[in-house]
């Protein structure tokens, strides 16, 4: 199995990696090569592969890319980073200074070789003269209105090489300015997956056991037995089989569901124990036709905006339930509301909406067959702090040692 390469071989492969650039080899080297968008500066030495990045074998054997990604449930925290520190990390935090989740960053201690220069929510908050002489090279972003300020910071401080976002979605900072700049971008992929998978199964059960009916009957003090649906044997269609999709598929398989998946591009000889059939984008209608529960777990990109259109909704089963944990604009919200109101689909579980907070005049508030949550189904007590800690404990030590960073974002793809 590719995954179990002993670290000494990994070392050899990693140091040869630059030479193997043009070749698509099925080896650990490929994993690192194909996701390193920022070519190592000339003269830097990749001294070793982090031993802590060994993921447990229940990952798909063919998803070698996954070795470069963090999964909160299966990845082991790195206890020791090998190799000398080759550069300093000088960090600007584009964040709300009062954001308690960032305390580990603001208060420290930060790993050896890193220091926080300043915190601010816009360019005006940063004292440009004093900062520019300190050569900031890292920006940590968590402020929701960071899109414009980030580009301004990149323009003002061209020494920045790396931008890390505290969230998984990068749509909130997507811009031409960011994507055309040479900086490396990393994010919090894999931090929130299992919680969202729990929400997915809860949404399925909400409709299968008709929880709204239970609540109504309780309100009316009525004892009336009615038949419930089994989740076992039904089909879950996962649109966007990434980390969140896969975590949900894992639970769905345990329930005895059939799982259909959809990915933008399917690697050769793809196989995954948690997915029975995998489709690419051209198979969306077919997937939707066959699914009893449809999970939308793609990121928001130009390709996925409006993906679940009126046309797609027409192909859904009348008993279908749509669950959205990706981003609101992936679904045509007007068309969805119409389908729900007309009974063309059975119901929807929505944790994300086109406009958040949801405007009071939206019909979604009033539809009986909608389970609404205010984009909080991954908001555990610890989640954002854990994400900040991931930046501090995993990626910062890698940066200062010149090791490949985890969770690289493909700027051309937008996620």
């Amino acid at each position: 199995m590719h995954m179990n390469i002993p670290s000494c071989y990994s070392f050899a492969i990693a140091s040869l990696a630059p030479l193997l650039a043009p070749l698509r080899l099925r080896s650990a080297a490929t994993a690192f090569r194909s996701v390193s968008y920022h070519p190592a500066p000339a003269g830097s030495i990749r001294t070793s592969v982090c031993v802590g990045n060994s993921l447990i074998s229940n990952k798909s054997p063919t998803s070698l890319r996954m070795m470069s990604y963090w999964n909160r449930e299966t990845s082991q925290p790195t206890s020791k980073f090998e190799g000398p520190i080759t550069k300093e990390a000088r960090i600007l935090a584009l964040c709300d200074p009062s954001d308690a989740y960032n305390k580990p960053l603001y208060d420290g201690p930060l790993p050896e070789g890193s220091k926080l220069l300043a915190v601010g929510s816009s360019l005006a908050d940063f004292d440009q003269e004093s900062i520019i002489v300190q050569d900031p090279n890292v920006i940590f972003v968590s402020h929701p209105k960071a899109r414009g300020p980030l580009v301004e910071l990149l323009n003002k401080f061209p020494s920045v090489e790396w931008v890390h976002t505290r969230s998984a979605g990068v749509d909130f900072i997507a811009s031409d300015g960011l994507f055309s700049s040479p900086v490396q971008l990393t994010n919090a992929k894999g931090m929130f997956s299992s919680t969202l998978a729990e929400y997915c199964m809860m949404a399925c059960a909400y409709f299968a056991k008709d929880l709204p009916r239970l609540m109504r009957q309780k309100n009316d003090v009525k004892w009336e037995q009615y038949p419930v649906l089994e989740i076992r044997g039904s089909t879950l269609g996962v649109v966007g089989f990434g980390d969140i999709g896969r975590a949900s598929a894992k639970l769905a398989k345990a329930y005895g569901m059939k799982v259909l998946g959809l990915k933008r591009s399917i690697p050769e000889s793809f196989s995954d124990p948690y997915c029975d059939e995998m489709y690419d984008m051209s198979g969306l209608l077919e997937l939707v036709k066959k699914s009893d529960y449809i999970l939308i777990s793609t990121p928001l990109t130009e390709q996925t905006r409006g993906l679940i259109s009126k046309e797609v909704l027409k192909h859904c089963k009348k008993t279908a339930v749509i669950i959205n944990v990706g981003r609101g604009p992936i679904i045509d919200e007007e068309a969805l509301i119409e389908a729900l109101a007309n009974g063309d689909i059975k119901g929807a579980g929505l944790d994300v909406m086109t406009v958040e907070p949801l405007p009071k005049d939206s019909q979604l508030w009033k539809l009986d067959n909608v389970l609404l949550s205010p984009h909080n189904m991954d908001m555990t007590l610890s989640f954002m702090r854990e994400s900040t800690e991931f930046f501090i404990d995993e990626n910062l030590p890698r940066f200062v040692r010149g090791i490949d960073l985890l969770n690289p974002v493909d700027k051309s793809a937008g996620y």
Binding site: E73, S194, T195, E198, Y199, M201, M202, A205, Y206, A208, K209, L211, L214, M215, Q217, K218, V221, W223, E224, Q225, Y226, P227, V228, L229, E230, I231, R232, K250, L251, A254, Y255, G256, E356, P357, L358, K360, W365, V370, L371, L372, S373, P374, H375, N376, M377, M379, T380, L381
Partner: protein, 429 residues
Amino acid sequence: MSMILSRALGRHYAGDLSKLTTLAVANSRSSRLRHSGRKKVELASLSSSRSISGSSEMQKKAWDTQADEYKFWNREESRSGQAQMVLDMSPDSIQKEARILCLSAADDAANKPLLDKLPFGSRLLHVGSQSTDFPDELIDESPNVLFVSPSCPHARLILPLVLAKFPTIEWIHVRSAGIDFLESDELPYVGKKGIIMTNAKGQFSSSLAEYVMMACSYFAKDIPRLLKNKDSKIWDEFEIQELRGRTMGIVGYGDIGRAAAKLASVFGMKIIALRRNPEKSEFDPVCDEVLGTGRLSLQKLMSVSDYVVCSAPSTVETRGMVNADAFKASKKNQVFINLGRGPVVDEDALVEALQNGTLRGAALDVFATEPLPTDHALWDLDQVLISPHNMDRTATFMHEATEFFVNENLPRFMLGHSLLNPVDVSLGY
């Protein structure tokens, strides 16, 4: 007879006889069920084509019908149709005819498989809901099988009368999992007369496991708050809890408990289980800890569990088992889920624990009195999820339970083989 049986079975359990004998030794009651988890898989995958031959002594040893895997049925895991296949292949292996009486409500739709699809060698003599519904002439036909459905009103009073009228009955099959609806002073005589009783254990487990996870998420993600906010059009981003890392305690670790544990463990929960025979679950990969019965065990379970699932049957031993003392030991913010039988829990103590905040909430599918009386305190408690004993009620569940009788146990009865899901009448489950 046993040669035919063995040759017939040999096609499906073809394999090294010595391997089977080893398994049998390993599985005998006196030794640990060390291979129990793997045993079914091993038998199914034995690839050698040498068929089993040998005396019936070897047969009995090779297939220890006392081991749990062979005694009990699980709808998701057990392989169906084996006994029927044997019958189909060699009808002359039938040892005895099945002459069936059905005790149920007259219009019970789930009797359909009894009316339509009985295997060759069995006959349905009559359906009735009282002893007098069965004509006296039937006594001459020597009915030997009684199929009892919980749809029969006052079944606990009628059953002894039917048995007295038809002394040739040797086997009673109950269509539900719970047999508490048959409890009476006369019931123990069933065991003494040598009548075998079987039930529908394992028929409903996966639906109930789905309900368990829904009930846990209901509180972890605070569905009541979501619904209230939706009603008032309030956008309130509150923090939710994960199930991952939490502990689920299962009181009464039978088929339903195990199905719930399997799901919960995939969610990343820790499982602590309580059952009368803890050694049977010693090597259960899904349990982190198994406890026996006893006041201290229950207290321990209550003190470490974030979510408690009560899936025990209602028997003399379990009645009122989860009482005020148990709730006193409850972990902070515990959620209590009952899907076994209402009487296992002291309902007053439960209401008290909910009202004084000992428990964060409860999800109840079963109650001491059903339907739940409209003036019962539980209706008014916001933190209680009430369902009308329907969380296993899929559209087909009762049909499937009847089909289990028709497809699995009837053929076994006719072949003279051990029946699945034996009930210990003295224990009550």
